[in-house]
């Protein structure tokens, strides 16, 4: 459900950018979404479709770039890439790992006219 709040956050950023840069329309919006960001991408797409109506980004193409999940292994001390929070350390097999990254939710850039 909070994808709607995220979409509203995206619209705020776009509105601020529109005021600062003076563009008419956003044609493409590129987002970076971490694997552990808790974002359901189809839900975010749906929310953006609704929330961006009437804004300079109405109808813009939305690209979502996946960022990998990273975690610190408490046993071997390495920062490793994992696909799932519950995965063991791929280096030593330990289950004691703490996510260190992959919770990003960013607007990377946008193409405007």
């Amino acid at each position: 459900m909070h994808e709607m709040s995220l979409a509203e956050g995206i619209r705020q950023i776009i509105d601020t950018q529109a005021a600062a840069h003076g563009f008419a329309r956003v044609t493409t919006l590129r987002l970076e979404i971490g694997r552990f960001a808790g974002v359901e991408k189809p839900a975010l797409e749906f929310a953006l479709d609704v929330v961006l109506r009437g804004s300079s980004a109405e109808g813009a193409g939305v690209e979502m770039i996946d960022l990998p999940g990273r975690a610190l292994c408490y046993d071997c001390g390495e920062v490793v890439e994992i696909a799932d929070r519950l995965d063991p350390c791929p280096l030593c097999g330990s289950g004691k790992i703490l996510p260190q990254g992959g919770d990003e939710m960013r607007i990377k850039d946008m193409e405007v006219i």
């Binding site: 950018q17 840069h21 008419a24 808790g38 519950l86």
Partner: protein
Amino acid sequence: MCTVCGCSSGPKIDGQTHAHSHAHEHDHAHSHGADHDHDHHHYGDGAAGVSVPGMSQARLIQIETDILAKNNAYAASNRRVLTALEAFAVNLVSSPGSGKTTLLCKTIEALGGQPLAVIEGDQQTSNDADRIRATGARAVQVNTGKGCHLDGHMVGHAMDDLHLAPQSLLFIENVGNLVCPAAFDLGEDAKVAILSVTEGEDKPLKYPDMFTAAKLAILNKIDLAPHCDADLDAYEANLRRINPDIIVLRVSARTGEGMDAWIDWLRAGLRAKARP
């Protein structure tokens, strides 16, 4: 007066009537009708932005902005206020029905004369704030409407209304939801996840985001454990699997078992906020 958005919000504490309507420079304009004689904040209105026409040359704008930047700015503002007051704030997160409000009522009793205040988040009703106020504590209810979580802005306004005393404890009882509140920083010092023994030992594995974000987990209703074959060690093992650093306290708010450790943890947090 909200220091971030600049909107003014009148006092809405202890049954005072207020009526104002303000459109913020950010997305959700919210308004309060004159028929309000209770101290609620209502949210859930939709977007109302503006678009600015301008030049028409295709170009790429680098943004690299966190989608939650706005929320994070509100949270940072709340954190500054709390730091200035040497106040310690906890964001209580859990499923609905884990016993948050009962735990809070018992916590307030156990804390005696400690200055404290409570922000209650629910989609509807002021039932929880009413229960807190029955203990004599100050409480403000925030109704999120359709919203599934509290955000930094709602909490900032609620904090304005509470007029926190220096060295207060602030309890923020989030909407009962183990998913969305994990992503929204409110400016708190710690998220505290409450998990009751009837919920299943694998709950931390099913909802990892929240338990990763929490500093402390309270395993509540342990008086019921023998009646529902709950394996408390399995709960703890699963919590540590998700978050090796998490502190786990076994508590029964009903019988009082384990409450001392919780109260000690809160007092230690408060002491740590004191300026030398």
